[in-house]
């Protein structure tokens, strides 16, 4: 049997590449199944691998999102720091232009009512703040101290209807009273018709009210009405200060002249 087997093998091994052998046919029959099986296994393998990779991608995505959120937050903080830095620098530069002693304060609260305008600041009597003292920022006049406690004070904004500032037009020196009206604009009252006032003119404090130092910006003229009758013209002034965005202010530590008894 062994010898016969060896003989057969030696004969068939010589016809290995014969075209008439059944090998190619069988391969043709089996191979599609093999291919199907292989593809199925690869497909399953791919799904399995992708599932795990998706899980890891999802985790990585979560981590990246958190990292992005942190980066955005840090970026916002840095931007905020930069803006605060700019504001404080302009405040410091502004203080050099005022000869009187000043103290900087932060706005911590706004007036709860719609028709009256005031802000609460974090400096009070213990910081040398007294009722009637002027409050300013580099953009212009903010208002006047109206109420004071130990560490806090209330500033009556120049835009409030109870506020009035003696002022004049920077170019023509036409004088009048800047009056708040609790909206976004001032009225420049008691300006004589004969005085030259133009739209765009800058209005500054005159220093004659004994509260605000002379020459501090208030706003610019946006509308003028000259009626046929009357001795005054109606002038509307838009403030240079954005009262909705007040954050830091300067209190000029000069007691007002004669207005408030406690200031003396």
């Amino acid at each position: 049997m062994v010898i016969a087997n060896i003989v057969i093998l030696s004969i068939t091994s010589r016809r290995h590449h014969s075209a008439s052998s059944p090998g190619p046919v069988l391969i043709g029959i089996v191979a599609p199944f093999q291919e199907g099986a292989t593809r199925s296994i690869h497909f399953t393998g791919d799904i399995w691998r992708h599932y795990f990779s998706l899980v890891s991608v999802a985790r990585e995505n979560d981590n990246l999102r958190q990292a992005l959120a942190r980066a955005v937050q840090e970026n916002n903080m840095q931007r905020e720091t930069t803006l605060t830095n700019q504001r404080l620098r302009s405040l410091i530069n502004f203080t050099k232009t005022i000869s009187d002693k000043q103290v900087a304060a932060e706005v911590i609260g706004l007036d709860p009512s719609f028709w009256f305008r005031s802000v609460t600041i974090n400096k009070g009597k213990l910081d040398g703040v007294l009722k009637g003292m002027p409050v300013v920022i580099p953009d212009g006049i903010v208002g006047q101290i109206a109420k004071v406690s130990g560490h806090y004070a209330m500033v009556l904004l120049a835009i409030d209807r109870n506020s009035a500032v003696d002022a004049f037009v920077q170019d023509s020196r036409a004088r009048g009273i800047i009056k708040g009206n609790s909206s976004e604009q001032y009225r420049f009252k008691y300006v004589l018709r004969k005085n030259d006032v133009q739209v765009g003119d800058t209005i500054i404090s005159s220093g004659m009210d004994g509260v605000f130092p002379k020459g501090i910006r208030i706003g610019h003229v946006t509308d003028i009405v000259r009626r046929n009758s009357g001795i005054f013209q109606e002038v509307t002034v838009t403030p240079d200060v954005d009262f909705e965005k007040l954050e830091e202010v300067l209190i000029i530590l000069t007691p007002p002249q004669g207005s408030f008894p406690e200031a003396k």
């Binding site: 709860p112 009512s113 028709w115 109870n162 909206s183």
Partner: protein, 162 residues
Amino acid sequence: MIFLFYILITFCIIVLQTAVVPLFFTTRGFYDLLIPFVVYAGFFRPLAEGLSLIVLLGLIMDCLSASPFGLYITVYVWLYAGARWLIRFLHAHSGVVIFFTVAVGVLFENVLWLLTITFLGGMEIISFSVIVNGVSRQVLWALFTGPFFLFGYMQIPRLMKR
């Protein structure tokens, strides 16, 4: 105990409306958040408790505002009296009453303020459009958010009992 709890809540509301709300509503169009509380006190709290609380709130608000001193106390006391008068005729738990009273209260507060300003001689410098815009915006906000505040206050006694 509940009185102190009310003081704590209203104190939080005062801080909210003077320091937090202005950060989100820079155009100053939001209404007085204490109005729902005043209405609630008028509807549901005993006279002594409600009135003392209302006067205290008015006093705090008068100190924080640039308005003439006593204006907030006046507004709150009148509003409180109005609310107490109203529940003689209407059912306080009614949905319609809850829906409209805060808005009516806000309107009443604004009318009283404007009357005061007129009396003080400052009305000439307020334009009609500012009045209409300001009041309508506040009333609309009160109409849509006021009932939630009122409903929230109504839950306080139940929470305290637990």
